[in-house]
């Protein structure tokens, strides 16, 4: 019997389909990517990218992680902001920032294959950019994400990188999550994510990995097969406040999860996205309990299925793999870092 499950934060229902239950080998990997282009992200090609915004260098002065402006930015910082109404619609200038984090000077495609120390430096670069963007009062939210592989929206160059988008508006899905967490907090006076972690650690059914203050789990009501969330076990609203030491533990855990996904599912395309609290600024709709009610986390979604009309039309997802089984498969893959 298929099951309907409700995400406890967003209230989004998903269908866990048992009729078409799928195991790791049931997702054929078809490479549709076009031929690779010359890489502008390798060491020695720095002139091919727009201005550098930040970098981490080793003792010899060679860069290890670089952040540059996007060649085709969705949003741009040097604009005068305006807002206006047009009939029933609202419009505003596309002020913001769109940046690319080059994860490594070496031509390595998948973050899973980077060293833990390198991944920690990537995370540190994320934190530094969030801190810098916080200075711009027009920015409301900084979104950090990764598109790995063609099916996940990755580009024609297979060099590991991440993207940063700073927006002058609150993003719909982030806002829903914030509101869901607040709604829970208002009644229970507890963080919904902390409660979720407690329940998951007790049940152990959907936990993939747990170590050094972080936990990786398959959510109870995932949108996609083999979706994994990584959360700090201690309550923490802001990703960018994670310490240099804790970032190492996070990097180690994330590398293991990405390797498990790579091995189990034959190197699939994937996205990850960091959900963190917005900047605490007095703007309409702001509330003061964000510190207590929100909990940052990373959502990793392998791209194994095509999203069809039904999902677009309803926001209701059909997940063909039982989350408990997905977690078991992922748990059983042995990896060493």
């Amino acid at each position: 019997m298929p099951q309907l499950r409700k995400d406890p934060i967003l209230g989004r229902w998903v269908i866990i389909s048992t009729e078409r239950a799928k195991r790791p080998k049931d997702f054929p990997h078809i490479d549709t990517s076009p031929p690779e282009r010359e890489c502008p992200f390798c060491r020695g090609k720095e002139a091919l990218t727009p201005g550098e915004l930040y970098s981490i260098k080793d003792e010899q002065g060679n860069w290890r992680v670089r952040v540059v402006s996007s060649i085709k930015p969705f949003l741009e910082p040097n604009k005068k902001s305006w807002k206006k109404g047009k009939g029933p619609y609202d419009l505003m200038e596309g002020v913001g920032s769109h940046e690319v984090v080059i994860d490594t000077p070496e031509h390595i495609a998948n973050m899973a294959d980077l060293e833990v120390g390198n991944i920690r430096e990537v995370f540190w670069a994320y934190c530094e950019r969030i801190r810098a963007l916080q200075e711009d009062m027009r920015i409301k939210y900084v979104l950090i994400f990764k598109n790995y592989g063609w099916d996940a929206g990755g580009g024609r160059v297979r060099h590991s990188r991440s993207q940063i988008i700073a927006t002058p508006v609150n993003l719909k899905r982030v806002k829903e999550e914030l509101e869901g967490a607040k709604f829970y907090y208002d009644y229970h006076e507890r963080c919904v994510f902390c409660d979720l972690i407690r329940q998951e650690l007790k049940e152990q059914e959907r936990v993939v990995l747990e170590e050094d203050g972080f936990v990786a789990l398959v959510p109870f009501a995932p949108r996609f097969p083999f979706e994994v969330w990584v959360l700090p076990k201690e309550h923490s609203p802001d990703f960018y406040k994670t310490s240099w030491e804790d970032l190492f533990s996070l990097a180690s855990l994330l590398k293991k999860v990405l390797l498990k996904i790579k091995i189990l599912l034959d190197d699939p395309s994937y996205n990850y996205i960091i959900h963190t609290a917005p900047f605490r600024r007095p703007y309409p709709g702001y509330w003061s309990t964000i510190e207590e009610d929100y909990h940052w986390h990373i959502e990793i979604t392998p791209r194994l299925t095509q999203v069809a009309g039904f999902e677009w039309g309803t926001g209701f997802y059909i997940c063909p793999t039982l989350p408990e089984e997905a977690a078991k498969f992922l748990r059983e893959v042995e990896v060493r870092v």
Binding site: L4, P88, F220, G315
Partner: protein, 338 residues
Amino acid sequence: MPELRKDPIVGRWVVVNVENPTLPEEFHLPPFQWRGDKDCPFCYNNEAMTPPEIEAISEQERAPNTPGWKVRVVPNKFPALRIEGDLDKQGIGLYDFSNGIGAHEVIIENPEHYKGLDQLSLEDVGYVLKAYRSRSLDLRKDRRFKYILIFKNVGVQAGASLEHGHSQLIALPMVPKNVKEEVKGAKKYYEFRERCIFCDIIAYELEAGERIVCENDDFLAFCPLSSRFSFEVWIIPKEHLDDYGTIGDVKLSNLAQILKEVIGRLHKVLGDHPYNYIIHTSPVNTDSHFSYHWHFEIMPKLTRVAGFEWGSGFYVVFTPPELAAKYLREVKLEESNS
């Protein structure tokens, strides 16, 4: 320079690339690779390959599950939801779940394997729309169902697993999130202004003109100002109607006309391309939703939706709707005799 636009119904922001728009030929869409009609469960004489039909539209006398039909509705062979049983709602700690009760049907639009919706005759498109209506009216008699979603996937990238033209229907025991948001947004607007937001959008678009694709007596086709996808088109009845199921025969034939025309225009401008369409209509077996206004949303899948869109609900549109509408409006369609 990019521009941010807010959807007035659900409050979603999109980024529109107004200065360096992507032109239709720049999407580099490969033509469809047809696998062929051999062993296609939706072709004539293969009726036994599908579960027994629920209903069919035919111009001639025929026995069920035999050739001669115009439109055929069958249960999905791999249903996401099952029709028998109780919901049996339960909770464990934080989590809520229930049995997956619902209906999952396939509407085979025409016996022709290789024809897209725009290549069918007006009459045949009308039969498809009639089948939608009749299934919607039939399924709502089951009081367990709260929403009936009709949708279509074309092309592998849009989630179609079979190439023979078909639509699908899923009847759900709860109102899904996106619909709930739209219904709520429309209600809020209505309570404040005593007007329908969709009617206001229609009036605004008719006056502005720049996002209109085409229109007829009963319907308007336009690219919404806050589209999520490049070349997204909505078809909406000009009269305020909340429920697709109550559409009359005259409107239905005008809908067939405009749907065929819009799909034809999209095909002419973009060539073969994956797309989805959905019908957003009022929930059933719940409160009245007078303030809602049903419509078709046609969403070409020209770019790969990336992590950014999934995680944020923030979309990047590479072709501004004004430019997309201009292409679609100005393209010459061959005169057909249908």
